[in-house]
């Protein structure tokens, strides 16, 4: 077992009274895709940017590639790739110009045209940064994160603003990184993205990691049962639903309800009875397996995107 690429112990960072990162510990192994899930303000970006050497921690131990990012400077920055949550580039430069510029900062650099092709930016090659759409700028930003062909790459919400097609392409690309042996640290708000890409996921809330495991294990640990989902405009509350037969838990978001059941037929029967009794309509009813999203809702009381 090789030493972990990233080791974090009891990491803390406060902004005034606000404890943005409140004691976080984890490790990331070589070649792993490590995900961080959490609502807005959970502390994901703060954590990741401390690992990148862009922010200085208050306390805790951090080792990345065997170095302390806070003090290792250029030596360290040569080896990692970084994509920041906010795209920030020379607005008047063209796509290919920015890629070659960033390439010139490193001894080892990827071929500009290959990166353009990889990110599907061929027809925007000569466009100025200011003219790119949000998703295109995001793709360029990911391209720049790997311009030095790093062993370790940090992607902070890489798929934000991408259309579904571009997002799926990005997933293929990240799987390609993994296949090449790169280690990837990824933050996201998309449960599907984390489920598909991540070997392990840390769920963060209020500056802490509240769960950390593989996506399937997280679901298994939290839900032994399947979910019934439906929309009902009135008459049914989460409390009522929790009383139904074989129900383990229920969650409501306005008129959208999810009930988790250890025995779907029994729960279904009593739900139909209740609806009939109340005269409540049931729309779009379906039965599905529990997902990371459910885990997240259960752990934080919030959806991923608020």
């Amino acid at each position: 077992m090789s030493t972990p690429v990233i080791q974090v112990r009891d990491l803390r960072k406060a902004y005034g009274d606000l404890q943005a990162v409140a004691g976080v510990s984890f490790e990331v192994a070589e070649g792993e895709v490590f995900g961080m899930l959490g609502p807005n303000g959970a502390g994901k970006t703060t954590t990741v940017e401390i690992l990148e050497g862009l922010r200085i921690r208050d306390s805790g131990e951090v080792g990345v590639l065997g170095m302390d990012p806070a003090t290792s400077g250029r030596e360290f920055k040569r080896l990692v790739g970084v994509q920041l949550q906010q795209v920030a580039l020379y607005p008047r430069l063209r796509v290919h110009e920015v890629i070659s510029l960033f390439g010139s900062f490193y001894e080892q650099q990827a071929e500009t045209e290959e990166l353009i092709a990889l990110m599907g930016l061929e027809d925007r090659r000569n466009a100025r940064i200011a003219e790119l759409s949000g998703g295109q700028a995001q793709r360029l930003s990911v391209a720049l994160a790997v311009v030095n062909m790093p062993r370790l790459v940090f992607l902070d919400e890489p798929s934000t603003g991408m259309d579904p097609q571009a997002r799926r392409n990005l997933w293929d690309i990240i799987e390609g990184f993994k296949a090449k042996g790169m280690t990837v640290v990824l933050t996201t708000h998309y449960m599907e993205e984390a489920e598909r890409l991540c070997d392990r996921v840390a769920v963060m809330d209020h500056g802490r990691i509240i769960a950390l495991d593989s996506p399937s294990a997280l679901v298994r640990e939290n839900f032994a049962e399947d979910a019934i989902e439906f929309v009902s405009n009135d008459g049914l509350s989460a409390n009522d639903l929790g009383e139904l037969a074989a129900v383990t838990s229920a969650a409501s978001q306005g008129s959208a309800h999810s009930i988790f059941s250890s025995d779907i037929p029994r729960t279904m029967g009593s739900l139909l009875d209740l609806a009939q009794e109340r005269g409540a309509p049931l729309e779009g009813m379906r039965v599905r397996h529990a997902t990371l999203e459910d885990v997240f809702l259960k752990l934080t009381g919030r959806t991923l995107r608020d």
């Binding site: 862009l54 920055k77 020379y90 430069l93 110009e97 900062f105 490193y106």
Partner: protein, 362 residues
């Protein structure tokens, strides 16, 4: 690390694609110099030139000369005595003075023609380029009118340096110094803007060393200042008719670069106090605006009240303007050249080290 050239190229691209930057660094100074040149210029529109004509000989040959020269439309002849006309030449009111010496007519009859005396100011380029050729042509015509056989009208040229610089000669080097100041100080906007847009933050996640980033930027601003100065000196000559001391041009370029560096350093220093591009303008204005009026750019320093002198002496533009005026048109020194260069170097060193110390990526 060979990021210097790509960064330099990036600065260039960023600059030429930025209409606002182009306007303020190129179009605005050009307009400014152009307008001053037209309003204050020597009126070298090529129409006519005032030439003093002094006739000290009463012969018919002298009368013929008078007639021939008077027939040249490019020459506006003013007749007067030698002393007054030469004094007017010294004051810059005449382009040249032609003297027909006593005994001119009889000398031709005696077959030993006396030369005409032509006085002019060699530092006035249009005189050399236009007036002298016109005069020579006029003499040729007169020659043919006087005799068909051999040339009898010859000229003897005497040069006279006009003492007084004209307003335009005073103003132009100052305006160019002002452009160097603006090009330097306001050139720092690019870096402030990159910081505001968080591009610097992104760069700080790469192994790019700060010196390469700053060095490429400063070098690029220098090139801009130099090209701007060359362009403006050319305009000052072509539109304003300023007579430039050609032999000093390399030194002038050197001083422009030194002054530019000092002002870029000041700009970088000021840039450390501005979070945004919008916030940078007022700061830079507060620093540059008083210098426009108190550094002897528009008004000579000797017209200023005594109490304001210490302020004037603290302004870098005072020294740059003086150095450029001395080199460009041979203006009377306010300070020695060594003092001017020394003070500019001191500003450069002090503000550059402050700027480096205060430099932040975000």
């Amino acid at each position: 690390m060979n990021a210097f050239l790509p960064l330099f190229r990036t600065n260039y691209r960023d600059f030429v694609r930025d209409r606002t930057a182009l306007f303020w660094t190129i179009a605005f100074p050009v307009l400014f110099i152009g307008i001053f040149g037209i309003v204050l210029g020597r009126g070298d529109d090529g129409a006519s030139y005032e030439v003093g004509f002094v006739v000290e000989d009463q012969s018919p040959q002298a009368a013929t000369l008078n007639e021939v020269l008077g027939g040249f439309e490019a020459l506006v002849l003013t007749r007067g005595d030698r002393e007054t006309e030469i004094a007017k030449l010294a004051d810059g009111e005449r382009r040249a003075v032609v003297v027909v010496p006593q005994g001119f007519g009889s000398s031709i009859s005696r077959d030993a023609p006396l030369p005409l005396q032509v006085h002019f100011d060699p530092s006035q380029q249009t005189t050399q380029q236009v007036v002298i050729p016109v005069l020579l042509r006029a003499f040729e015509v007169a020659d043919r009118a006087l005799t068909q056989t051999r040339p009898v009208v010859t000229a003897e040229f005497e040069t006279l340096q006009s003492e007084r610089l004209q307003v335009i000669d005073f103003i132009m080097p100052g305006l160019i110094a002002m452009s160097v100041m603006n090009g330097g100080v306001f050139g720092a906007i690019a870096m402030v803007s990159l910081r505001e847009r968080r591009v610097l933050r992104r760069l700080s996640a790469t192994p790019l060393p700060a010196w390469a980033l700053v060095g490429a930027d400063v070098t690029f601003r220098m090139v801009v200042v130099l090209l701007q100065t060359i362009l403006l000196v050319m305009l000052a000559v072509l539109i304003g008719g300023v007579s430039v001391k050609v032999e000093n041009l390399p030194a002038l370029a050197g001083v422009a670069v030194l002054g530019g560096l000092a002002f870029v350093a000041i700009g970088f220093f000021l840039g450390a106090f501005a979070k945004t591009e919008q916030g940078f303008f007022p700061i830079a204005q507060v620093v540059t605006f008083p210098m426009l009026f108190l550094s002897g750019i528009f008004f000579p320093l000797d017209t200023m009240p005594d109490w304001i002198r210490p302020l004037v002496s603290a302004m870098p533009l005072t020294y740059l303007g003086d150095a450029m005026r001395q080199l460009m048109v041979g203006g009377a020194p306010v300070h020695s050249m060594a003092l001017n260069l020394g003070v500019l170097t001191a500003f450069l060193v002090v503000f550059f080290s402050l700027a480096v110390r205060l430099f932040k990526y975000e």
